[in-house]
């Protein structure tokens, strides 16, 4: 997912309600947010992402910053929407959602159809991580955000975020090695 061309002009045009600019922002932000949510909130990823998109597209007047700042702002909104959903769900005591492990094993058909196979496979691997590790990897790799921004979004110290990403990568490498060894011994 590449950068936004002519960032300042695009942002200003989107604020002015020009469709092409909103389309550019959608293409750059929405798939990232959906991928992030598909791991962390698989049952309601599309709905939360659509709510976040409206918040983003209609709140651009409040945004100031560069492209990385825009992504950080967008993920902050998406994360708040996700937390709101979880709170509402907790108040309703709704039905239990699929766990991340269940998500990793299967995944809804429509979700698979929505994402390229390689991306889907990667998301399923990330979904096997503990939630905070998964979130850090997603915000780094999908969101394209630096540690400092992730620390703000997750309300953690940068050192904690670094530890989480180190643990996540090591776990993913361990899993990959184990899969390779299993494949060889078969």
């Amino acid at each position: 997912m590449g950068p936004i061309e002519d960032f300042e002009r695009t942002i200003q045009a989107a604020r002015d309600g020009q469709g092409w600019a909103l389309g550019e922002l959608f293409r750059n932000l929405y798939p990232r947010i959906v991928r992030y949510l598909r791991v962390l909130e698989p049952s309601d990823a599309e709905d939360v992402a659509s709510d976040a998109w409206l918040d983003i597209s209609t709140g651009l007047d409040r945004f100031e910053g560069d492209e990385v700042g825009l992504r950080a702002w967008a993920f902050t909104i998406a994360r708040r929407r996700m937390i709101d959903l979880r709170r509402r769900r907790a108040r309703r005591s709704g039905p239990p959602r699929r766990s991340l492990d269940e998500r990793a094993r299967g995944g809804a058909i429509e979700e698979k159809a929505m994402t390229q196979l390689a991306t889907q496979a990667a998301l399923e691997r990330i979904a096997t991580l503990p939630p905070e590790q998964a979130e850090v990897v997603l915000l780094r790799a999908v969101g394209g955000l630096p540690v400092a921004e992730i620390a703000k979004i997750m309300d953690k110290q940068p050192g904690t975020v670094r530890a989480l990403q180190q643990s996540a990568l090591r776990r993913l490498a361990t899993q990959a090695t184990e899969r390779t060894e299993e494949a060889i011994t078969r």
Binding site: R35, R125, V142, R171, T174
Partner: protein, 250 residues
């Protein structure tokens, strides 16, 4: 979270990457040949996470942009406006759900058409018949309620239609009388029905029949001579005791 509380990872030092390598790996700046062998799959995975969006992932773009434009247009003027901001986040969610609901709606329409036929034939259980009568009346389709239900059941009517020795008008009149609880005068005045009431092709149902309306007089005038009282009497699904009641319009 420290790595020590993670029982599945190997001890510190094993598979450990320096901070710079971790950053570059997660930024997608490292190729498979630039990392230890254990991390080759991780490099591929991270790259896959940031692949360009698929067409399917962008399929909602038009709706999303339109929804954003609508929201922006509905925003109140910055000063002096008392118009409340619309509930942000609701409209597009509703729209995206709308598309999913479309499929369900098509199924519903199919069910409605089938139900309308059964309701027009009086072949539904009484509570459903009353409900169908009310609902269909709102869309201009006249369907009897369960109150005016004749005594004859679809099964009885069907039996008459298939066992009677009468033919033509006489047969139709008998069926019509039974189906309407004696109210129908069909076939008793020796007048042929107007041509418009018949389909050009005898094998095709009359327009009324297409809407599932039961009209005994049509059955009487069936040019094939194979009289039938209503759709319900001929519908295998409507021939049971519970929902096989045939009715003529009042």
């Amino acid at each position: 979270m420290s790595t020590s509380d993670d029982p599945t990872v190997r001890p510190t030092g094993d598979l450990m990457l320096d901070e710079r390598t971790v950053d570059h790996l997660l930024d997608g700046l490292l190729g498979p040949q630039e990392v230890p062998a254990e991390y080759v799959a991780v490099v591929d995975m991270v790259r896959a996470l940031s692949l360009p969006p698929s067409p399917a992932e962008l399929s909602m773009q038009t709706v999303a942009v339109e929804a954003a434009l609508t929201e922006l247009a509905l925003r109140p003027a910055p000063r002096g406006s008392k118009t409340p901001t619309p509930a942000s986040g609701q409209r597009w969610s509703e729209r995206s759900r709308f598309f999913r609901a479309k499929v369900a709606s098509l199924v519903l329409v199919g069910t409605l058409i089938a139900t309308t036929g059964l309701a027009a034939a009086g072949a539904l259980p009484a509570p459903l018949q009353d409900a169908a009568s009310k609902v269909l009346a709102k869309v201009g389709i006249s369907v009897p309620t369960s109150d005016g239900h004749p005594a004859s059941s679809g099964e009885e009517i069907s039996k008459i239609a298939t066992t009677t020795d009468a033919t033509g008008v006489d047969k139709g009149a008998g069926i019509s009388t039974a189906a309407s609880g004696g109210r129908s005068q069909a076939g008793q005045n020796d007048k042929p029905s107007p041509p418009a009431a018949h389909p050009a092709n005898p094998s095709q149902p009359a327009p009324n029949g297409a809407h599932g309306k039961s009209d005994a007089s049509h059955a009487v005038q069936d040019p094939s001579g194979n009289a039938h009282a209503s759709g319900a009497a001929n519908d295998p699904s409507a021939s049971g005791q519970e929902h096989g009641k045939s009715r003529a319009p009042a």
